[in-house]
Structure formats: structure tokens, C-alpha cells
């Protein structure tokens, strides 16, 4: 871990809630200092804490897959990326989308189904995307992003850009055939992709030991992809491993694979809260909470100040998001096609 004296690093200014409205104006989050990284982890933690509350109160329709506990992975990986790089994300995507620099106010508006949300209220939690930041979408299908990442990386490379694509996925995706196919495609094309496996121990309720034959890094090694396992509760350990893989990919050295051992403090999704499942013991949860990635970084940064900043930011973001209009029901079919006649309505008018 890189320690810097407390109080000397205030990092970059926090984004202003709702200020960035139009696509193309966004810039990726600056995560270059420990304070930046702590601030982003705090933002993700508090964002999802608020989102959990909004699911409970009904401000967020449906539910979410909270990222709480895994913050060091998104922040460590995104800290290793450059401004032109891209990511693919997962059903548990709020952390990745925020760490890449998406406006938290617009992400909140998206989760609340508002017209000014990141996706104009058309995607919600599982499809949050900001293409202007290189976010090729959260994804509702486990393992689906990896091959999209390989194609995007190949396209960038053949047009002469040195773009790297980071593809996040969980341990559950290790058993999706298309992910293994994607590893192979990346290997044979030497595509500049960093595969990031967030191993949080469970595919919904199924423990890794009961689901994964061999290992995560063993799968990568079988395709000739250099792979490492790091402590996913340590943002700097993740960042250092990601930086190495990103640098190799950028200099035409081919794809890399980083397995991050992490844990979600909350259930798989918000429905689990009502179900009182017992697949994880309270002791196990407590043991992982004791290794909290924010607490690890806290002594090195002006934490109290940052915490207050983030709280104020989220308060403004929440107020703004809830004041934004909902989409017009007459526009339910908008954005389906880039061109051509509008689809027929369900009932002729």
C-alpha cells in the first residue's frame, strides 16, 4: 500500500451533481492519489447504501445488486486505466460505472427511472452505461461482457489506437462457455484486454468451491494468458496488478487476467434481504468486514473531510435526481432503432 501523509492530499474536486448532462462532456475519474481512491470507494459505498434505502422506499423500482464490500476492485482497476480506455461491467455494476467517472447524480436518476438518467431511464441498474466514458455497459447476463470487450479491443488496435479494455466479471462467469471462448479469442488476437475476475466467493448462493473445477487463474493460463491472484480488499494491490496488465496490453503484449479475492457484504440482490437466507454464516461476513478496503486506506488520507464531502455530494445528487422528470409513457419505444419506420404499437391508434 502506498502511504501518504494524512492531510497533505486533497485529491481532485468531486463532480458536481447533475452538472454533466450531455454525453461526450464526461472525463474519466482521476484516481491517481490515495485520497482520490478513498473518495471514490467512499462514494461507491455511500451511493449503494443510499440505493439500498431507495429500493426499500420504492424510489428505485425492481432491485439492485449492491457493490458494497468490493469497492477496492473497481477503484483499483479504474485507477490503472487511461482516458481513452474502456470497460465492460456486470449486473453488479454501480462500482465500475462510478469508478470510471460516471456522474453519480445521473446514475441515481437512472436507478430512479428518470429521463435525465445516464440511460434516459431506459436501462436501470443492470444496464447503466456512459459510452462517452468508454463504459460499454453493465450487463444483465453473466459473462456476456468479456467477448464484447475483446471485439472493442481488437477494433481499437486495428485502427491504430492503444486503447485497453478492462472486462469485469464475477466468479459465476467462470463457468460460462462464452467467457472461455472470449479468453481464447483474446489470446489468439493478442487483444489488449484485462480480464478482471471479482471472486466474491459466491455465484448468487453457490460457493466457489462447489462450482469451479480447477481455478480462475488456471482457466486463463490454459489459454496462455498471464494471470495473477490479488487481495481484492486492497485497492493498491489491485491497482498494481492492473497497472502491470494494462501496461503489457497497451504495449502489444496481449491480454492479462487479474483475479481479485473480495466479498460482498450484502446479499446477491435486494430481494435476498427479505428472504433471510443462511448460506453465509454471520462469522464469515464479519471476518470479511474486518478487512474493509476503506478502513485500510483511511489512515493515509483526510478521511473525515472526504466523508463529509461525499455525503454532501450525494445529498445534492439525490435531491437533484428525485426532482428530475420521469420519461413520457408515449416514448416507451424510443431509441429501439437508429433508423427505419417506427415499430407498430401494441394497439392500433
Amino acid at each position: 500500500m502506498t502511504a501518504e501523509p494524512a492531510g497533505t492530499d486533497r485529491g481532485t474536486a468531486a463532480p458536481v451533481a447533475g452538472a454533466r448532462r450531455a454525453a461526450g462532456e464526461a472525463t474519466p475519474a482521476d484516481l491517481s492519489t490515495p485520497a482520490d481512491r478513498y473518495r471514490m470507494m467512499r462514494l461507491i459505498r455511500e451511493f449503494d447504501t443510499l440505493a439500498l434505502e431507495w429500493v426499500r422506499t420504492g424510489e428505485i423500482p425492481g432491485g439492485i445488486h449492491p457493490y458494497i464490500g468490493q469497492e477496492a476492485v473497481a477503484v483499483g482497476v479504474c485507477a490503472a486505466l487511461g482516458p481513452g480506455d474502456r470497460i465492460t461491467s456486470t449486473h453488479r455494476g454501480h462500482g465500475h460505472v462510478l469508478a470510471r467517472g460516471a456522474d453519480p447524480a445521473r446514475l441515481l436518476a437512472e436507478l430512479a427511472g428518470r429521463e435525465s438518467g445516464l440511460n434516459r431511464g431506459r436501462g436501470g441498474s443492470m444496464h447503466a452505461a456512459d459510452l462517452s466514458l468508454g463504459i460499454l455497459g453493465a450487463n444483465g447476463i453473466v459473462g456476456a461482457g468479456a467477448a464484447i470487450a475483446v471485439g472493442a479491443a481488437w477494433a481499437a488496435r486495428r485502427s491504430g489506437r492503444d486503447t485497453v479494455v478492462a472486462s469485469f466479471f464475477g466468479d459465476g462467469a467462470l463457468n460460462q462457455g462464452v467467457l472461455l471462448e472470449a479468453l481464447n479469442l483474446a489470446s489468439i488476437h493478442r487483444a489488449p484486454v484485462v480480464f478482471v475476475c471479482e471472486n466474491n466467493g459466491y455465484a448468487t448462493t453457490l460457493p466457489v468451491a462447489a462450482a469451479v473445477g480447477g481455478s480462475a487463474v488456471g482457466r486463463a493460463a490454459a489459454f496462455g494468458i498471464p494471470a495473477v491472484t490479488v487481495d481484492g480488499m486492497d485497492a493498491d494491490a489491485v491497482r498494481e496488478a492492473a497497472e502491470e496488465a494494462v501496461a503489457r496490453a497497451r504495449s502489444c503484449g496481449g491480454p492479462g487476467f487479474v483475479e481479485c479475492l473480495t466479498y460482498r457484504y450484502e446479499g446477491h440482490h435486494t430481494m435476498e434481504r427479505r428472504m433471510r437466507l443462511t448460506y453465509r454464516s454471520p462469522e464469515e461476513v464479519a471476518a470479511w468486514r474486518a478487512r474493509d478496503p476503506l478502513e485500510r486506506l483511511r489512515p493515509a488520507v483526510p478521511a473525515a473531510e472526504i466523508d463529509a464531502e461525499v455525503a454532501a455530494l450525494l445529498e445534492r445528487a439525490a435531491a437533484w435526481a428525485l426532482s428530475e422528470p420521469r420519461p413520457d409513457p408515449a416514448e416507451a419505444g424510443a431509441y429501439l432503432y437508429a433508423g427505419g419506420p417506427p415499430p407498430r404499437p401494441g394497439v392500433p391508434v
Binding site: 454525453a23 474502456r86 465492460t88 438518467g117 445516464l118 440511460n119 434516459r120 431511464g121 431506459r122 436501462g123 444496464h127 452505461a129 456512459d130 459510452l131 462517452s132 460499454l136 455497459g137 450487463n139 444483465g140 447476463i141 456476456a144 468479456a146 467477448a147 464484447i148 470487450a149 475483446v150 471485439g151 472493442a152 479491443a153 481488437w154 477494433a155 481499437a156 486495428r158 485502427s159 479494455v165 462457455g177 462464452v178 471462448e181 472470449a182 481464447n184 479469442l185 489468439i188 424510443a334 431509441y335 429501439l336 432503432y337 437508429a338 433508423g339 427505419g340 419506420p341 415499430p343 407498430r344 392500433p348
Partner: protein
């Protein structure tokens, strides 16, 4: 004047599209060798980084194409076997087709899926003989089924230029077709039908390779029944105005569709006609049976496909 084959038309469309736009690339299985026909010679002309031979990983290379489409390329993905579409339904429908709406219009998804040899090639049995275009129509993916070489050229060019995913079915039964063409062929806009034969008494809507059979049946019935043959060319978006115009005049309808009966394109065409036109007789569909799985033995294979004599009987039935 050129005597242009259907396969050569697809090949020329791909070559012209690649020459016109450096973002166009082709990928799939054995596309370098040109095994299926449409990609023959393209790798030698455009290089291995624009004509990519892919390993047998249909799901990954379909999403690979999506990733490339989202970041500036205009890929064409070839599938040698129509039933491979079942394998990549997730990637085409759930990922590529839905991407634009789910992101609130943040991206264009210029992706073409080319299926040369769709339908039965006689003797290739249950897993190589499907004609699953109705699935894509139902899901809302743009779907074209060219009947002639000129339309194969024009519709494939239009599909590649389109900013949404488009599936292009090139029926096995049409790929032997040849046509005299003159000069540069124009693109054919998606969603525009073509009246292939004008008639007064009954409209026959025929899909893909069945257009040629329908024209033959119409000729055979000349003097007995005046048959109008309408080739929709694009199944989604369908040219409903053209259907309305034709059936509005004839007020009799038969649909000739080489696909499974239940929830098929023929069912949709008949439903629209019934909703919008006061028909003079109950409409008829001539299709594969419900849930058809084409058996191997040639007589059984043929017996599962709609046939000209069935069309003739259906036409006579609706004009009776």
C-alpha cells in the same frame, strides 16, 4: 449485361461495401477460404485483419462483432448453418438488438448477420435445415430474405449500411438463381416490398426462394386466375403499406412461407390482412408444419416444405 448468380451477388455486395467503407469487416468460420461462397476472394483482396477467420466459438465471435460495432467498425458476421442462430440468439437479441434502447440511444449498432444457405439443402437433416427468420421478426431484429440476385446485392448493401443489427437470410433454394443485370446495382432500402407480378384476383405473398415458385404457379394458373405476387423482401420492418395496397385491391390472400406454421411470418401477414381488409374469402397459409423438424430422407425433407401444388390448391380455394 452480366449473368449474375445469387452467391456472386452477395460476394460482390460484400466486396463493394468493404471498398466503400474501411470500417466494414467480415468475420466468421472459414470466411478466408470462402467456404460458404459469399466471402470468396475477399481475404486476398482486403487482408486478414478485415476478413477474420474465427475459431468455432459462435457466441464469442458474435459478441466480439458487437464490441467492434460499438467502437467504430461495421462488421458482417457469416454463419454457415442457419441453426447456429439458435446458439447466438442471446448475443444477437439480448445484447446487440437491445443495446441501443437500454442505453437510451447512446450508441449505433451497425452489425450484419449473413446466413447463406438457410432452409433446407436437402439431405442435411434436423440440425442444418431450419429457416428461423420468424424468431428474429418476433424479437424485433431487422430481417431480410432476398429472393433474387439483384435483391441479394441491394439488400445486403443496405443491411451493411444500416445502423442497427440486421439478419440477412440467403435461402439455399435461392442461391442457385441467376439474373441478367446491367451496370451498377443499387442498394434496396430495407422495408420495401416489390410486386413481382401484377394480378387482379388474389395476392400471393411469397418469401425468399418461394417467390420464384409462386411466379411459376401464377403463370401456370394464367387464364384461370389472375395472381399478384408480392415479395416482401424485408420481413421486419415489413412493408405493410404494400400489403394493404395489394390485398386492398384483390381482397384475397395466400401466404407462401418456408417456415414453421405457428407464430410464423405467414400468420402475421394473414392477421394484418384480416384486421385491415374486408377479405372476400378466408385467407390461406402454405407453410412448413407446426414445429417442423426436417427429417433426413429426401422424400420426408421435401414433404415438410411447402410445395407448389399446395400453393396452387390454396389459390384455387380462395377464389372459389
Amino acid at each position: 449485361m452480366t449473368w449474375l448468380s445469387y452467391t456472386k451477388a452477395l460476394n460482390r455486395a460484400l466486396g463493394d461495401a468493404m471498398a466503400a467503407d474501411p470500417a466494414v469487416c467480415v468475420l466468421g468460420e472459414d470466411v478466408g477460404a470462402g467456404m460458404a461462397g459469399p466471402t470468396l476472394g475477399l481475404q486476398a483482396r482486403f487482408g486478414t485483419d478485415r476478413v477474420l477467420d474465427m475459431p468455432l466459438s459462435e457466441q464469442a465471435f458474435t459478441s466480439f462483432a458487437l464490441g467492434a460495432a460499438l467502437t467504430g467498425m461495421r462488421p458482417v458476421v457469416e454463419f454457415q448453418i442457419p441453426s447456429l442462430l439458435f446458439l447466438v440468439f442471446e448475443q444477437i437479441v439480448n445484447q446487440a438488438h437491445k443495446f441501443r434502447l437500454m442505453t437510451g440511444g447512446q450508441a449505433r449498432v451497425p452489425l450484419t448477420f449473413l446466413v447463406p444457405g438457410s432452409g433446407s439443402r436437402l439431405g442435411w437433416a434436423g440440425q442444418h435445415s431450419d429457416h428461423p427468420y420468424a424468431l428474429f421478426v418476433h424479437a424485433g431484429v431487422k430481417t431480410v430474405v432476398p429472393a433474387s440476385p439483384a435483391d441479394a446485392y441491394g439488400l445486403l448493401r443496405a443491411a451493411v449500411e444500416d445502423d442497427d443489427p440486421v439478419v440477412v437470410f440467403a435461402p439455399a433454394g435461392a442461391m442457385g438463381a441467376r439474373e441478367d443485370v446491367t451496370g451498377q446495382l443499387p442498394p434496396v432500402p430495407l422495408g420495401s416490398a416489390r410486386v413481382r407480378r401484377a394480378g387482379e384476383d388474389v395476392t400471393v405473398v411469397a418469401v425468399g426462394h418461394l417467390v420464384a415458385e409462386a411466379l411459376q404457379v401464377a403463370d401456370d394458373l394464367d387464364g384461370e386466375v389472375s395472381v399478384e405476387v408480392l415479395d416482401p423482401r424485408t420481413l421486419h420492418p415489413f412493408d405493410w403499406a404494400a400489403l394493404r395496397a395489394s390485398v386492398g385491391r384483390t381482397r384475397r390472400l395466400v401466404v407462401y412461407d418456408d417456415a414453421n406454421r405457428g407464430c410464423g411470418v405467414a400468420a402475421e401477414v394473414v392477421a394484418v390482412a384480416a384486421e385491415e381488409v374486408a377479405l372476400l374469402a378466408p385467407p390461406r397459409r402454405v407453410t412448413r408444419p407446426d414445429g417442423a423438424v426436417l427429417p433426413f430422407a429426401p422424400d420426408l425433407d421435401r414433404a415438410s416444405q411447402p410445395q407448389p401444388h399446395q400453393l396452387r390448391d390454396a389459390v384455387r380455394a380462395v377464389v372459389k
